[in-house]
Protein backbone atom coordinates (compact mmCIF):
# COMPACT_ATOMS: atom_id res chain seq x y z
CA UNK A 1 0.00 0.00 0.00
CA UNK A 2 1.18 3.52 -0.65
CA UNK A 3 2.02 5.76 2.28
CA UNK A 4 1.56 9.49 2.22
CA UNK A 5 2.70 12.02 4.79
CA UNK A 6 0.96 15.39 4.72
CA UNK A 7 2.46 18.23 6.74
CA UNK A 8 3.54 15.70 9.36
CA UNK A 9 4.96 17.49 12.39
CA UNK A 10 6.29 16.45 15.78
CA UNK A 11 7.03 18.98 18.48
CA UNK A 12 8.53 18.22 21.88
CA UNK A 13 7.72 21.36 23.82
CA UNK A 14 9.44 24.13 21.91
CA UNK A 15 11.75 21.81 19.98
CA UNK A 16 10.63 20.64 16.56
CA UNK A 17 11.74 17.11 15.73
CA UNK A 18 9.85 16.77 12.46
CA UNK A 19 8.92 19.94 10.63
CA UNK A 20 5.81 19.64 8.43
CA UNK A 21 7.13 17.07 5.98
CA UNK A 22 5.29 15.89 2.89
CA UNK A 23 6.17 12.59 1.26
CA UNK A 24 4.60 10.03 -1.05
CA UNK A 25 5.87 6.46 -0.94
CA UNK A 26 4.37 4.42 -3.76
CA UNK A 27 2.98 0.96 -3.06
CA UNK A 28 5.61 -1.78 -3.11
CA UNK A 29 8.53 0.65 -2.93
CA UNK A 30 11.61 0.25 -0.82
CA UNK A 31 12.00 3.65 0.81
CA UNK A 32 14.98 4.65 2.96
CA UNK A 33 14.83 7.57 5.36
CA UNK A 34 18.44 8.69 5.42
CA UNK A 35 20.04 11.27 7.63
CA UNK A 36 22.38 11.95 10.53
CA UNK A 37 21.25 11.16 14.08
CA UNK A 38 18.74 13.66 15.39
CA UNK A 39 17.40 14.54 11.95
CA UNK A 40 13.91 13.26 12.78
CA UNK A 41 13.95 10.10 10.67
CA UNK A 42 13.15 7.69 13.52
CA UNK A 43 10.45 10.01 14.86
CA UNK A 44 8.89 10.07 11.41
CA UNK A 45 8.94 6.27 11.26
CA UNK A 46 7.40 6.00 14.72
CA UNK A 47 4.63 8.38 13.74
CA UNK A 48 3.88 6.26 10.66
CA UNK A 49 3.77 3.17 12.88
CA UNK A 50 1.54 4.77 15.50
CA UNK A 51 4.13 4.69 18.28
CA UNK A 52 4.34 8.47 18.42
CA UNK A 53 1.44 10.87 18.19
CA UNK A 54 1.82 13.48 15.46
CA UNK A 55 1.61 17.09 16.68
CA UNK A 56 0.11 18.10 13.36
CA UNK A 57 -0.44 16.70 9.89
CA UNK A 58 -1.60 13.33 8.68
CA UNK A 59 -0.35 9.88 7.82
CA UNK A 60 -2.33 8.26 5.02
CA UNK A 61 -1.84 4.53 4.51
CA UNK A 62 -3.60 3.12 1.48
CA UNK A 63 -7.00 4.74 1.11
CA UNK A 64 -7.41 6.26 4.56
CA UNK A 65 -5.80 8.64 7.03
CA UNK A 66 -4.84 6.63 10.07
CA UNK A 67 -4.94 9.49 12.60
CA UNK A 68 -4.44 8.12 16.10
CA UNK A 69 -5.20 4.50 15.23
CA UNK A 70 -3.33 1.82 17.21
CA UNK A 71 -0.33 0.23 15.44
CA UNK A 72 -2.12 -3.03 14.75
CA UNK A 73 -5.04 -1.24 13.06
CA UNK A 74 -2.85 0.54 10.53
CA UNK A 75 -1.67 -2.42 8.50
CA UNK A 76 1.90 -1.59 9.49
CA UNK A 77 4.39 -3.66 11.43
CA UNK A 78 7.57 -2.41 12.98
CA UNK A 79 10.96 -4.02 13.32
CA UNK A 80 12.77 -2.43 16.24
CA UNK A 81 16.39 -1.38 16.33
CA UNK A 82 17.26 -3.73 19.19
CA UNK A 83 14.88 -6.37 17.71
CA UNK A 84 12.77 -6.23 20.93
CA UNK A 85 12.22 -10.00 21.00
CA UNK A 86 10.40 -11.20 24.09
CA UNK A 87 13.19 -12.82 26.12
CA UNK A 88 10.90 -15.34 27.86
CA UNK A 89 9.46 -16.76 24.63
CA UNK A 90 11.24 -18.99 22.12
CA UNK A 91 11.55 -17.99 18.48
CA UNK A 92 8.30 -19.68 17.45
CA UNK A 93 6.26 -18.13 20.28
CA UNK A 94 7.78 -14.75 19.54
CA UNK A 95 6.61 -14.98 15.97
CA UNK A 96 3.21 -16.35 17.03
CA UNK A 97 2.75 -13.60 19.64
CA UNK A 98 0.57 -11.27 17.60
CA UNK A 99 -1.54 -14.21 16.43
CA UNK A 100 -2.04 -15.25 20.05
CA UNK A 101 -3.09 -11.69 20.92
CA UNK A 102 -5.72 -11.98 18.20
CA UNK A 103 -7.06 -15.16 19.76
CA UNK A 104 -6.00 -17.48 16.94
CA UNK A 105 -5.88 -21.15 17.98
CA UNK A 106 -2.66 -22.82 19.00
CA UNK A 107 -2.30 -25.21 16.07
CA UNK A 108 -3.01 -22.55 13.44
CA UNK A 109 -0.73 -19.91 14.91
CA UNK A 110 2.09 -22.40 15.34
CA UNK A 111 1.80 -23.49 11.73
CA UNK A 112 1.81 -19.87 10.53
CA UNK A 113 4.75 -19.00 12.76
CA UNK A 114 6.72 -21.96 11.44
CA UNK A 115 5.97 -20.95 7.84
CA UNK A 116 7.26 -17.45 8.57
CA UNK A 117 10.38 -18.79 10.29
CA UNK A 118 11.03 -20.94 7.24
CA UNK A 119 10.73 -17.88 5.02
CA UNK A 120 13.58 -16.23 6.96
CA UNK A 121 15.48 -19.55 7.14
CA UNK A 122 15.10 -19.88 10.89
CA UNK A 123 12.80 -22.92 11.00
CA UNK A 124 15.51 -25.15 12.43
CA UNK A 125 16.02 -22.87 15.46
CA UNK A 126 12.34 -22.35 16.30
CA UNK A 127 12.74 -23.72 19.84
CA UNK A 128 15.57 -21.41 20.88
CA UNK A 129 15.18 -18.47 23.25
CA UNK A 130 16.38 -15.09 21.94
CA UNK A 131 19.39 -15.21 24.30
CA UNK A 132 20.50 -18.41 22.56
CA UNK A 133 20.49 -16.79 19.11
CA UNK A 134 23.14 -14.63 17.45
CA UNK A 135 22.39 -11.04 16.43
CA UNK A 136 21.70 -12.00 12.84
CA UNK A 137 19.42 -14.85 13.89
CA UNK A 138 17.52 -12.61 16.31
CA UNK A 139 17.01 -10.19 13.50
CA UNK A 140 15.54 -12.86 11.26
CA UNK A 141 13.12 -13.82 14.04
CA UNK A 142 12.18 -10.16 14.49
CA UNK A 143 11.54 -9.93 10.76
CA UNK A 144 9.34 -13.03 10.85
CA UNK A 145 7.43 -11.62 13.81
CA UNK A 146 6.80 -8.38 11.95
CA UNK A 147 5.64 -10.21 8.82
CA UNK A 148 3.41 -12.84 10.39
CA UNK A 149 0.25 -10.73 10.54
CA UNK A 150 0.54 -9.90 6.84
CA UNK A 151 1.18 -6.15 7.12
CA UNK A 152 1.04 -4.03 3.99
CA UNK A 153 3.80 -1.71 5.17
CA UNK A 154 6.90 -2.80 7.06
CA UNK A 155 8.73 -0.20 9.13
CA UNK A 156 12.39 -0.91 9.92
CA UNK A 157 14.28 1.17 12.46
CA UNK A 158 18.01 0.92 11.73
CA UNK A 159 17.68 -2.84 11.30
CA UNK A 160 21.26 -3.48 10.27
CA UNK A 161 23.16 -1.17 12.60
CA UNK A 162 23.77 -3.79 15.29
CA UNK A 163 25.26 -6.35 12.91
CA UNK A 164 28.90 -6.77 11.92
CA UNK A 165 29.79 -5.49 8.44
CA UNK A 166 29.83 -8.89 6.75
CA UNK A 167 26.45 -9.89 8.13
CA UNK A 168 25.07 -6.45 7.34
CA UNK A 169 25.68 -6.95 3.64
CA UNK A 170 24.10 -10.42 3.73
CA UNK A 171 21.01 -9.25 5.62
CA UNK A 172 20.71 -6.35 3.20
CA UNK A 173 20.36 -8.80 0.33
CA UNK A 174 17.89 -10.81 2.39
CA UNK A 175 15.72 -7.79 3.17
CA UNK A 176 15.57 -6.84 -0.48
CA UNK A 177 14.70 -10.42 -1.46
CA UNK A 178 11.84 -10.61 1.03
CA UNK A 179 10.54 -7.19 0.05
CA UNK A 180 10.49 -8.16 -3.62
CA UNK A 181 9.03 -11.60 -2.92
CA UNK A 182 6.15 -10.30 -0.81
CA UNK A 183 5.64 -7.06 -2.75
CA UNK A 184 5.38 -4.99 0.45
CA UNK A 185 6.13 -1.33 1.02
CA UNK A 186 9.26 -1.08 3.18
CA UNK A 187 10.21 2.08 5.01
CA UNK A 188 13.70 1.73 6.38
CA UNK A 189 15.50 4.21 8.63
CA UNK A 190 19.27 4.35 8.29
CA UNK A 191 22.19 6.71 8.69
CA UNK A 192 24.31 4.79 6.18
CA UNK A 193 24.19 6.21 2.67
CA UNK A 194 25.69 2.99 1.38
CA UNK A 195 22.74 1.01 2.78
CA UNK A 196 20.24 3.49 1.37
CA UNK A 197 21.87 3.38 -2.08
CA UNK A 198 21.98 -0.40 -2.14
CA UNK A 199 18.38 -0.98 -1.05
CA UNK A 200 16.06 1.78 -2.00
CA UNK A 201 13.81 2.70 -4.84
CA UNK A 202 13.28 5.98 -3.03
CA UNK A 203 15.90 7.73 -0.90
CA UNK A 204 14.61 10.42 1.44
CA UNK A 205 17.47 12.51 2.78
CA UNK A 206 16.47 14.30 5.99
CA UNK A 207 18.18 17.03 7.97
CA UNK A 208 16.99 18.95 11.02
CA UNK A 209 13.42 17.68 10.76
CA UNK A 210 13.01 18.49 7.07
CA UNK A 211 13.31 16.54 3.85
CA UNK A 212 16.30 17.79 1.84
CA UNK A 213 15.66 15.58 -1.15
CA UNK A 214 13.42 12.62 -2.00
CA UNK A 215 14.31 10.81 -5.21
CA UNK A 216 15.64 7.55 -6.58
CA UNK A 217 19.25 6.78 -5.55
CA UNK A 218 20.74 7.63 -8.94
CA UNK A 219 19.14 11.08 -9.00
CA UNK A 220 20.25 11.75 -5.44
CA UNK A 221 23.82 10.84 -6.31
CA UNK A 222 23.94 12.47 -9.76
CA UNK A 223 22.02 15.60 -8.89
CA UNK A 224 22.06 16.26 -5.14
CA UNK A 225 19.61 19.03 -4.40
CA UNK A 226 21.51 20.77 -1.65
CA UNK A 227 25.03 21.07 -0.27
CA UNK A 228 23.87 19.00 2.72
CA UNK A 229 22.79 16.12 0.46
CA UNK A 230 26.00 16.29 -1.55
CA UNK A 231 28.13 16.17 1.60
CA UNK A 232 26.02 13.56 3.39
CA UNK A 233 25.89 10.99 0.62
CA UNK A 234 29.61 11.51 0.05
CA UNK A 235 31.65 11.19 -3.12
CA UNK A 236 31.15 14.88 -3.87
CA UNK A 237 33.15 18.08 -3.56
CA UNK A 238 31.02 21.03 -2.61
CA UNK A 239 32.67 24.13 -4.03
CA UNK A 240 31.59 27.72 -3.40
CA UNK A 241 31.95 29.81 -6.54
CA UNK A 242 31.25 33.55 -6.77
CA UNK A 243 27.85 32.86 -8.37
CA UNK A 244 26.73 30.01 -6.11
CA UNK A 245 27.55 26.51 -4.91
CA UNK A 246 28.32 23.55 -7.12
CA UNK A 247 28.88 19.89 -6.44
CA UNK A 248 31.44 17.94 -8.43
CA UNK A 249 31.80 14.20 -8.06
CA UNK A 250 35.17 13.35 -6.57
CA UNK A 251 35.89 10.88 -9.38
CA UNK A 252 35.33 13.61 -12.00
CA UNK A 253 38.07 15.85 -10.65
CA UNK A 254 40.99 16.42 -13.00
CA UNK A 255 44.55 16.70 -11.75
CA UNK A 256 47.80 17.81 -13.44
CA UNK A 257 47.90 18.32 -17.18
CA UNK A 258 44.21 17.42 -17.72
CA UNK A 259 43.04 20.04 -15.24
CA UNK A 260 42.40 22.61 -17.97
CA UNK A 261 43.14 26.31 -18.26
CA UNK A 262 41.11 27.42 -15.21
CA UNK A 263 42.87 24.98 -12.87
CA UNK A 264 43.63 26.00 -9.30
CA UNK A 265 47.00 25.24 -7.78
CA UNK A 266 46.37 22.82 -4.89
CA UNK A 267 48.46 21.21 -2.16
CA UNK A 268 48.18 17.48 -1.54
CA UNK A 269 47.36 16.98 2.16
CA UNK A 270 46.41 13.29 2.24
CA UNK A 271 46.74 10.19 0.10
CA UNK A 272 44.61 7.15 0.93
CA UNK A 273 45.05 3.90 -0.95
CA UNK A 274 41.71 2.04 -1.28
CA UNK A 275 42.57 -0.82 -3.59
CA UNK A 276 40.73 -0.09 -6.80
CA UNK A 277 41.05 3.65 -6.26
CA UNK A 278 43.18 6.22 -4.46
CA UNK A 279 41.65 9.15 -2.57
CA UNK A 280 43.74 12.31 -2.73
CA UNK A 281 42.94 15.12 -0.28
CA UNK A 282 43.71 18.61 -1.57
CA UNK A 283 43.73 22.13 -0.14
CA UNK A 284 43.64 25.20 -2.38
CA UNK A 285 43.68 28.92 -1.65
CA UNK A 286 40.20 30.36 -1.54
CA UNK A 287 38.45 27.05 -0.80
CA UNK A 288 37.36 26.43 2.76
CA UNK A 289 37.19 22.98 4.31
CA UNK A 290 33.81 21.59 5.29
CA UNK A 291 33.40 21.57 9.10
CA UNK A 292 34.38 17.94 9.70
CA UNK A 293 36.62 17.07 6.76
CA UNK A 294 40.39 16.98 6.58
CA UNK A 295 40.75 18.55 3.12
CA UNK A 296 38.89 21.10 1.03
CA UNK A 297 38.67 18.80 -2.00
CA UNK A 298 38.92 15.09 -2.59
CA UNK A 299 39.92 13.60 -5.91
CA UNK A 300 39.31 9.91 -6.54
CA UNK A 301 41.79 8.46 -9.03
CA UNK A 302 41.85 4.96 -10.39
CA UNK A 303 44.78 2.97 -9.05
CA UNK A 304 46.31 2.78 -12.52
CA UNK A 305 46.14 6.56 -13.05
CA UNK A 306 47.65 7.14 -9.65
CA UNK A 307 50.44 4.64 -10.24
CA UNK A 308 51.28 6.39 -13.55
CA UNK A 309 51.60 9.78 -11.78
CA UNK A 310 52.03 9.25 -8.05
CA UNK A 311 51.52 12.12 -5.61
CA UNK A 312 52.78 12.61 -2.08
CA UNK A 313 51.49 14.86 0.67
CA UNK A 314 53.17 18.25 0.22
CA UNK A 315 53.19 18.14 -3.59
CA UNK A 316 51.53 20.93 -5.52
CA UNK A 317 49.30 19.99 -8.42
CA UNK A 318 46.82 21.90 -10.60
CA UNK A 319 43.22 20.81 -9.97
CA UNK A 320 40.14 21.40 -12.09
CA UNK A 321 36.96 19.75 -13.30
CA UNK A 322 34.85 19.29 -16.41
CA UNK A 323 32.22 21.95 -16.71
CA UNK A 324 29.76 19.15 -17.54
CA UNK A 325 30.49 17.40 -14.24
CA UNK A 326 29.62 20.45 -12.15
CA UNK A 327 26.12 20.34 -10.71
CA UNK A 328 24.60 23.52 -9.38
CA UNK A 329 23.14 23.30 -5.85
CA UNK A 330 20.06 25.05 -4.50
CA UNK A 331 21.58 26.12 -1.25
Amino acid sequence: MNVELIGLTKRYGAAIAVDAIDLKVPSGAYCCLLGPSGCGKTTTLRMIGGHERASAGDVVIGPKAVGDAAPAERGTAMMFQSYALFPHLDARDNVAFSLRMRGIGKAERRAKAMAMLDLVQMGHLAGRLPAQLSGGQQQRVALARALVTGPKVLLLDEPLSALDPFLRVRMRVELKRIQTELGLTFIHVTHSQEEAMALSDLVVVMNAGRIEQAADPRTVFERPATAFVARFIGGHNVIRLPDGMIAVRADRMRLGAEAGPEALPARVVAVEYQGTSVHVGLDADGLERAPDSSAALTAVLSDADFAARPLRPGDTVPVGWDEAAAHRLDA
Binding site: G49, H51, A70, P71, A72, A77, M78, F80, Q81, S82, A84, L85, F86, P87, H88, F97, S98, R100, M101, R102, R145, A146, T149
Partner: protein, 310 residues
Protein backbone atom coordinates in the same frame (compact mmCIF):
# COMPACT_ATOMS: atom_id res chain seq x y z
CA UNK B 1 67.77 -26.45 13.54
CA UNK B 2 68.37 -23.73 16.06
CA UNK B 3 65.77 -21.52 14.42
CA UNK B 4 63.16 -24.21 14.86
CA UNK B 5 64.09 -24.99 18.43
CA UNK B 6 64.14 -21.43 19.70
CA UNK B 7 60.46 -20.55 19.59
CA UNK B 8 59.79 -23.89 21.21
CA UNK B 9 61.72 -23.11 24.36
CA UNK B 10 60.14 -19.68 24.36
CA UNK B 11 56.67 -21.21 24.44
CA UNK B 12 57.58 -23.63 27.19
CA UNK B 13 58.90 -20.78 29.29
CA UNK B 14 55.80 -18.67 28.63
CA UNK B 15 53.32 -21.22 29.93
CA UNK B 16 54.19 -21.08 33.66
CA UNK B 17 54.48 -17.29 33.46
CA UNK B 18 50.92 -17.13 32.18
CA UNK B 19 49.64 -19.57 34.80
CA UNK B 20 51.06 -17.67 37.77
CA UNK B 21 49.03 -14.43 37.35
CA UNK B 22 45.92 -16.51 36.83
CA UNK B 23 46.52 -18.31 40.11
CA UNK B 24 47.12 -15.00 41.80
CA UNK B 25 43.87 -13.62 40.37
CA UNK B 26 42.00 -16.63 41.69
CA UNK B 27 43.44 -16.36 45.20
CA UNK B 28 42.68 -12.63 45.14
CA UNK B 29 39.05 -13.44 44.34
CA UNK B 30 38.87 -15.83 47.31
CA UNK B 31 40.42 -13.14 49.48
CA UNK B 32 37.77 -10.67 48.39
CA UNK B 33 34.98 -13.09 49.24
CA UNK B 34 36.56 -14.06 52.56
CA UNK B 35 35.18 -11.30 54.86
CA UNK B 36 31.55 -12.00 53.98
CA UNK B 37 32.16 -15.75 54.11
CA UNK B 38 33.66 -15.31 57.59
CA UNK B 39 30.66 -13.27 58.76
CA UNK B 40 28.31 -15.94 57.44
CA UNK B 41 30.34 -18.68 59.09
CA UNK B 42 30.52 -17.05 62.53
CA UNK B 43 27.05 -15.52 62.68
CA UNK B 44 24.96 -17.94 60.63
CA UNK B 45 26.52 -21.37 60.19
CA UNK B 46 27.91 -21.73 63.73
CA UNK B 47 24.71 -20.59 65.52
CA UNK B 48 22.64 -22.86 63.26
CA UNK B 49 24.88 -25.82 64.06
CA UNK B 50 24.68 -25.01 67.78
CA UNK B 51 20.89 -24.76 67.55
CA UNK B 52 20.83 -28.13 65.82
CA UNK B 53 23.04 -29.66 68.49
CA UNK B 54 21.12 -28.15 71.42
CA UNK B 55 17.85 -29.44 69.95
CA UNK B 56 19.01 -32.98 70.85
CA UNK B 57 19.85 -32.13 74.46
CA UNK B 58 17.83 -33.02 77.53
CA UNK B 59 16.31 -30.50 79.89
CA UNK B 60 14.19 -30.32 83.00
CA UNK B 61 13.02 -27.53 85.31
CA UNK B 62 16.49 -26.65 86.57
CA UNK B 63 19.10 -28.13 84.23
CA UNK B 64 20.08 -28.65 80.62
CA UNK B 65 22.31 -31.65 79.92
CA UNK B 66 24.10 -32.53 76.72
CA UNK B 67 22.63 -35.72 75.28
CA UNK B 68 21.33 -37.26 72.08
CA UNK B 69 17.59 -37.53 72.50
CA UNK B 70 14.73 -37.09 70.06
CA UNK B 71 12.37 -36.28 72.92
CA UNK B 72 12.27 -32.55 72.02
CA UNK B 73 11.12 -33.35 68.49
CA UNK B 74 8.63 -35.86 69.83
CA UNK B 75 7.28 -33.09 72.08
CA UNK B 76 6.93 -30.74 69.12
CA UNK B 77 4.77 -33.23 67.27
CA UNK B 78 3.07 -34.57 70.42
CA UNK B 79 -0.39 -35.82 69.54
CA UNK B 80 -0.09 -35.00 65.88
CA UNK B 81 -0.78 -38.59 64.86
CA UNK B 82 -4.22 -38.52 66.50
CA UNK B 83 -7.38 -37.43 64.73
CA UNK B 84 -7.64 -33.79 65.89
CA UNK B 85 -4.98 -31.28 65.04
CA UNK B 86 -2.17 -30.98 67.56
CA UNK B 87 -0.99 -27.61 68.88
CA UNK B 88 1.99 -27.48 66.55
CA UNK B 89 -0.04 -28.08 63.41
CA UNK B 90 -2.65 -25.57 64.49
CA UNK B 91 0.03 -22.98 65.25
CA UNK B 92 1.62 -23.57 61.87
CA UNK B 93 -1.73 -23.32 60.12
CA UNK B 94 -2.38 -20.02 61.86
CA UNK B 95 1.04 -18.70 60.85
CA UNK B 96 0.68 -19.98 57.28
CA UNK B 97 -2.70 -18.27 57.13
CA UNK B 98 -0.98 -14.96 57.92
CA UNK B 99 1.66 -15.71 55.30
CA UNK B 100 -1.04 -16.35 52.70
CA UNK B 101 -3.06 -13.25 53.62
CA UNK B 102 0.01 -11.03 53.70
CA UNK B 103 1.23 -12.40 50.36
CA UNK B 104 -2.22 -12.01 48.81
CA UNK B 105 -2.22 -8.31 49.72
CA UNK B 106 1.45 -7.29 49.44
CA UNK B 107 1.92 -8.98 46.06
CA UNK B 108 -0.68 -7.03 44.04
CA UNK B 109 -0.02 -3.91 46.10
CA UNK B 110 3.76 -4.14 45.72
CA UNK B 111 3.45 -4.95 42.02
CA UNK B 112 1.14 -2.00 41.41
CA UNK B 113 3.44 0.42 43.23
CA UNK B 114 6.56 -0.97 41.56
CA UNK B 115 4.84 -0.74 38.17
CA UNK B 116 3.90 2.85 38.83
CA UNK B 117 7.45 3.72 39.92
CA UNK B 118 9.07 1.92 37.00
CA UNK B 119 6.79 2.88 34.12
CA UNK B 120 4.96 6.07 35.03
CA UNK B 121 7.60 8.12 36.84
CA UNK B 122 9.97 9.70 34.33
CA UNK B 123 12.21 11.68 36.67
CA UNK B 124 14.82 9.86 38.75
CA UNK B 125 14.60 12.47 41.51
CA UNK B 126 10.86 11.99 41.91
CA UNK B 127 11.39 8.22 41.89
CA UNK B 128 13.99 8.46 44.65
CA UNK B 129 11.63 10.65 46.66
CA UNK B 130 8.79 8.16 46.31
CA UNK B 131 11.08 5.27 47.27
CA UNK B 132 12.00 7.17 50.45
CA UNK B 133 8.28 7.58 51.08
CA UNK B 134 7.93 3.78 50.93
CA UNK B 135 10.51 3.42 53.70
CA UNK B 136 8.66 5.70 56.13
CA UNK B 137 7.42 2.72 58.22
CA UNK B 138 11.06 2.07 59.09
CA UNK B 139 11.80 5.57 60.28
CA UNK B 140 10.77 4.71 63.82
CA UNK B 141 11.43 1.81 66.16
CA UNK B 142 9.35 -1.31 66.06
CA UNK B 143 7.93 -0.76 69.55
CA UNK B 144 6.79 2.80 68.89
CA UNK B 145 5.33 1.74 65.54
CA UNK B 146 3.30 -1.01 67.20
CA UNK B 147 2.08 1.21 70.02
CA UNK B 148 1.08 3.88 67.52
CA UNK B 149 -1.57 1.56 66.13
CA UNK B 150 -3.48 1.70 69.44
CA UNK B 151 -4.62 5.35 69.28
CA UNK B 152 -5.47 4.78 65.63
CA UNK B 153 -7.34 1.48 65.79
CA UNK B 154 -8.42 1.24 69.44
CA UNK B 155 -12.01 1.17 70.62
CA UNK B 156 -11.94 4.95 71.08
CA UNK B 157 -9.26 5.46 68.48
CA UNK B 158 -9.12 7.78 65.52
CA UNK B 159 -10.82 5.41 63.06
CA UNK B 160 -13.73 4.50 65.32
CA UNK B 161 -14.22 8.12 66.45
CA UNK B 162 -14.23 9.41 62.91
CA UNK B 163 -16.68 6.78 61.70
CA UNK B 164 -18.92 7.46 64.69
CA UNK B 165 -18.90 11.24 64.28
CA UNK B 166 -19.73 10.76 60.60
CA UNK B 167 -22.67 8.69 61.74
CA UNK B 168 -21.58 5.65 59.73
CA UNK B 169 -21.53 3.35 62.77
CA UNK B 170 -23.27 3.46 66.16
CA UNK B 171 -21.05 1.24 68.31
CA UNK B 172 -17.27 1.12 67.84
CA UNK B 173 -15.94 -1.70 65.65
CA UNK B 174 -14.28 -4.18 68.01
CA UNK B 175 -12.10 -6.10 65.56
CA UNK B 176 -9.86 -3.25 64.47
CA UNK B 177 -7.23 -3.89 67.11
CA UNK B 178 -6.08 -7.18 68.65
CA UNK B 179 -7.44 -9.28 65.80
CA UNK B 180 -6.32 -11.12 62.64
CA UNK B 181 -7.16 -7.94 60.78
CA UNK B 182 -4.75 -5.90 62.89
CA UNK B 183 -1.97 -8.47 62.49
CA UNK B 184 -2.34 -8.57 58.70
CA UNK B 185 -2.55 -4.79 58.55
CA UNK B 186 0.74 -4.46 60.44
CA UNK B 187 2.41 -7.08 58.22
CA UNK B 188 1.25 -5.35 55.05
CA UNK B 189 2.36 -2.01 56.42
CA UNK B 190 5.86 -3.31 57.08
CA UNK B 191 6.48 -5.88 54.37
CA UNK B 192 5.08 -4.26 51.23
CA UNK B 193 8.35 -2.43 50.68
CA UNK B 194 10.18 -5.80 50.55
CA UNK B 195 7.88 -6.71 47.69
CA UNK B 196 8.23 -3.33 45.93
CA UNK B 197 12.01 -3.22 45.72
CA UNK B 198 12.74 -6.57 43.98
CA UNK B 199 9.73 -6.26 41.66
CA UNK B 200 10.77 -2.72 40.78
CA UNK B 201 14.24 -4.04 40.05
CA UNK B 202 12.82 -6.61 37.63
CA UNK B 203 10.51 -4.13 35.96
CA UNK B 204 13.23 -1.50 35.56
CA UNK B 205 15.26 -3.97 33.54
CA UNK B 206 12.47 -4.58 31.03
CA UNK B 207 13.43 -2.98 27.74
CA UNK B 208 10.80 -0.34 26.93
CA UNK B 209 10.86 -1.38 23.29
CA UNK B 210 9.35 -4.74 24.38
CA UNK B 211 6.22 -2.90 25.49
CA UNK B 212 6.10 -1.09 22.16
CA UNK B 213 6.69 -4.34 20.31
CA UNK B 214 3.75 -5.90 22.16
CA UNK B 215 1.58 -2.92 21.20
CA UNK B 216 2.80 -3.24 17.63
CA UNK B 217 1.72 -6.89 17.71
CA UNK B 218 -1.76 -5.77 18.62
CA UNK B 219 -1.68 -6.58 22.34
CA UNK B 220 -4.03 -4.57 24.54
CA UNK B 221 -2.75 -2.98 27.74
CA UNK B 222 -3.89 -5.93 29.82
CA UNK B 223 -2.49 -8.47 27.33
CA UNK B 224 0.88 -6.71 27.46
CA UNK B 225 0.81 -6.78 31.25
CA UNK B 226 -0.16 -10.45 31.39
CA UNK B 227 1.98 -11.81 28.57
CA UNK B 228 5.09 -9.61 28.69
CA UNK B 229 5.47 -7.61 31.90
CA UNK B 230 4.33 -10.24 34.39
CA UNK B 231 6.51 -13.09 33.06
CA UNK B 232 9.53 -10.79 33.06
CA UNK B 233 8.76 -9.65 36.61
CA UNK B 234 8.72 -13.23 37.91
CA UNK B 235 12.23 -13.16 39.46
CA UNK B 236 11.32 -10.02 41.41
CA UNK B 237 8.01 -11.54 42.50
CA UNK B 238 9.81 -14.68 43.68
CA UNK B 239 12.43 -12.76 45.65
CA UNK B 240 9.82 -10.45 47.18
CA UNK B 241 7.70 -13.47 48.13
CA UNK B 242 10.69 -15.12 49.78
CA UNK B 243 11.22 -11.97 51.85
CA UNK B 244 7.59 -11.86 52.92
CA UNK B 245 7.35 -15.59 53.67
CA UNK B 246 10.47 -15.61 55.85
CA UNK B 247 9.54 -12.38 57.63
CA UNK B 248 6.01 -13.49 58.48
CA UNK B 249 6.92 -17.10 59.32
CA UNK B 250 9.58 -16.01 61.82
CA UNK B 251 7.65 -13.13 63.36
CA UNK B 252 6.64 -13.11 67.03
CA UNK B 253 6.47 -9.37 67.90
CA UNK B 254 3.82 -8.26 65.40
CA UNK B 255 1.53 -11.21 66.02
CA UNK B 256 1.97 -10.74 69.77
CA UNK B 257 1.33 -7.00 69.96
CA UNK B 258 -1.28 -6.63 67.23
CA UNK B 259 -3.04 -9.83 68.26
CA UNK B 260 -3.23 -8.73 71.87
CA UNK B 261 -1.14 -11.78 72.86
CA UNK B 262 -4.16 -13.93 71.96
CA UNK B 263 -3.01 -15.32 68.60
CA UNK B 264 -0.55 -18.19 68.38
CA UNK B 265 2.40 -18.11 66.05
CA UNK B 266 5.42 -20.34 65.60
CA UNK B 267 7.81 -17.55 66.52
CA UNK B 268 5.80 -16.79 69.61
CA UNK B 269 6.02 -20.44 70.75
CA UNK B 270 9.78 -20.39 70.43
CA UNK B 271 10.03 -17.07 72.23
CA UNK B 272 7.94 -18.33 75.15
CA UNK B 273 10.08 -21.47 75.47
CA UNK B 274 13.19 -19.30 75.45
CA UNK B 275 11.66 -17.14 78.17
CA UNK B 276 11.21 -20.26 80.31
CA UNK B 277 14.83 -21.25 79.54
CA UNK B 278 13.67 -24.42 77.73
CA UNK B 279 16.42 -23.98 75.18
CA UNK B 280 16.42 -27.55 73.79
CA UNK B 281 12.66 -27.39 73.13
CA UNK B 282 13.02 -23.95 71.53
CA UNK B 283 15.91 -25.25 69.42
CA UNK B 284 13.86 -28.20 68.20
CA UNK B 285 11.00 -25.88 67.27
CA UNK B 286 13.42 -23.58 65.51
CA UNK B 287 14.84 -26.46 63.45
CA UNK B 288 11.31 -27.52 62.44
CA UNK B 289 10.47 -23.91 61.54
CA UNK B 290 13.66 -23.61 59.50
CA UNK B 291 12.79 -26.79 57.61
CA UNK B 292 9.26 -25.54 56.94
CA UNK B 293 10.49 -22.17 55.64
CA UNK B 294 13.13 -23.84 53.47
CA UNK B 295 10.45 -26.09 51.99
CA UNK B 296 8.29 -23.06 51.16
CA UNK B 297 11.23 -21.28 49.51
CA UNK B 298 12.06 -24.45 47.60
CA UNK B 299 8.47 -24.48 46.36
CA UNK B 300 8.79 -20.86 45.25
CA UNK B 301 12.07 -21.42 43.42
CA UNK B 302 10.56 -24.48 41.75
CA UNK B 303 8.11 -22.16 40.04
CA UNK B 304 10.93 -19.93 38.81
CA UNK B 305 14.48 -20.84 38.01
CA UNK B 306 16.01 -17.94 39.93
CA UNK B 307 19.57 -18.63 38.95
CA UNK B 308 18.70 -18.50 35.27
CA UNK B 309 16.59 -15.37 35.67
CA UNK B 310 19.27 -13.47 37.58
Amino acid sequence: MNDLALPHTGEAAAAPVAAAPQRRRLSLAYLQAAPLALVFLVFLVVPLLLTGIVSFWEYNEYAITPALTLQNYADVFDGCLSADLCTTIRTYLSTVKFVALTLAITLPLGFAIAYFLAFHIRSDTVRMGLFLLCTIPFWTSNVIRMISWIPLLGRNGLVNDTLRSLGLIKAPIEGLLYSDFAVVLAFVHLDTVFMIVPIFNSLARIDRSLIEAARDCGASGFQTLWNVVLPLAKPGIAIGSIFVVTLVMGDFVTVGVMGGQQIASVGKVIQVQMAYLQFPAAAANAVVLLAAVLLMILGLTRMIDLRREL
